[in-house]
Symmetry: C2
Subunit: 134 residues, 2 copies
DNA sequence: ATTTTCTTTTACGTTAACGTAAACGTAAGG
DNA sequence: CCTTACGTTTACGTTAACGTAAAAGAAAAT
């Protein structure tokens, strides 16, 4: 028997509100089953949610996130569409790689900032220990 | 003589509107000089803008971006504040490194998606060439 | 049985990050 | 001098991504 999840299972697992999950459904990013009136989420629903949230953490809009999720879920049949999809995938890869660069530079800047702080602290310490010697 | 920039210099260089730049000033992230009524931007203003926009590309809010910019601009005098700053810097570094992980995984997923697409295309090709042989 | 806990739908409210427009000043070019 | 281009402030509008509240049903706990 396949595992399923309630809406609050997912909400607490991913630390979002149920409102958020319902909102994603409204927008068409999730299509859970129903048990009577209650929503029932499959493992694949769960994966989709996880991927959408990952996209969000990277600063993508919901639409962008959802597009990417579609990308790895869709075994297109039509050749034209497949070729278009490949183009979009490569565009996204390029964007993300440029974002990687931004991240690296920001980390370098932060490292430098930290070093400066540490150096200042060290200078304060050495001055203090000099004073103690008097 | 130090170089300066007009608001539209910066707007066109970084591909944002002048409204955006004035908005950042309203929020206190930029404090350009004035020449009469006109805004005059220094190289350091320009750098701040550049860094804020880089933060935005990474999905940070303006406040978060601005906080980071403050981090590498501020030679604090007070020891307590310096220690706090170092803590914040390390927190940010941790966040960004986790974001790096997300990025890597998303790139891997996209690579896999691309491979699948290519494989499908290849299969379509081979079937086509078989048909041509009949 | 009833209180609490979870769920549902519907709908209005909120915040960030600008967009857009009005109404006006100024400076340079023809 | 007039137009054209760029600048200013003020203020209302917009979109995304939910938050929040109301009103009601169902199930689990006491």
């Amino acid at each position: 028997m396949r595992k399923t999840y309630t809406i609050s299972d997912l909400a607490s697992e991913f630390d979002v509100t149920t409102r958020t999950i319902r909102f994603y459904e409204e927008k068409g990013f999730l299509k859970p089953g129903r048990e009577g009136t209650r929503r029932v989420y499959s493992p694949s629903d769960r994966t989709r949610l996880r991927l959408i949230l990952r996209g969000k953490r990277l600063g993508l809009s919901l639409d962008e996130s959802a597009e990417i999720v579609m990308m790895y879920g869709s075994p297109r049949n039509n050749r034209k569409q497949l070729e278009k999809l490949i183009v979009r995938i490569r565009e996204k890869q390029t964007e993300l790689k440029s974002q990687q660069k931004d991240l690296e530079f920001m980390l370098l800047d932060l490292q430098e900032a930290e070093n400066n702080c540490m150096a200042t602290l060290t200078r304060m310490d050495s001055r203090k220990s000099l004073q103690e010697k008097t």
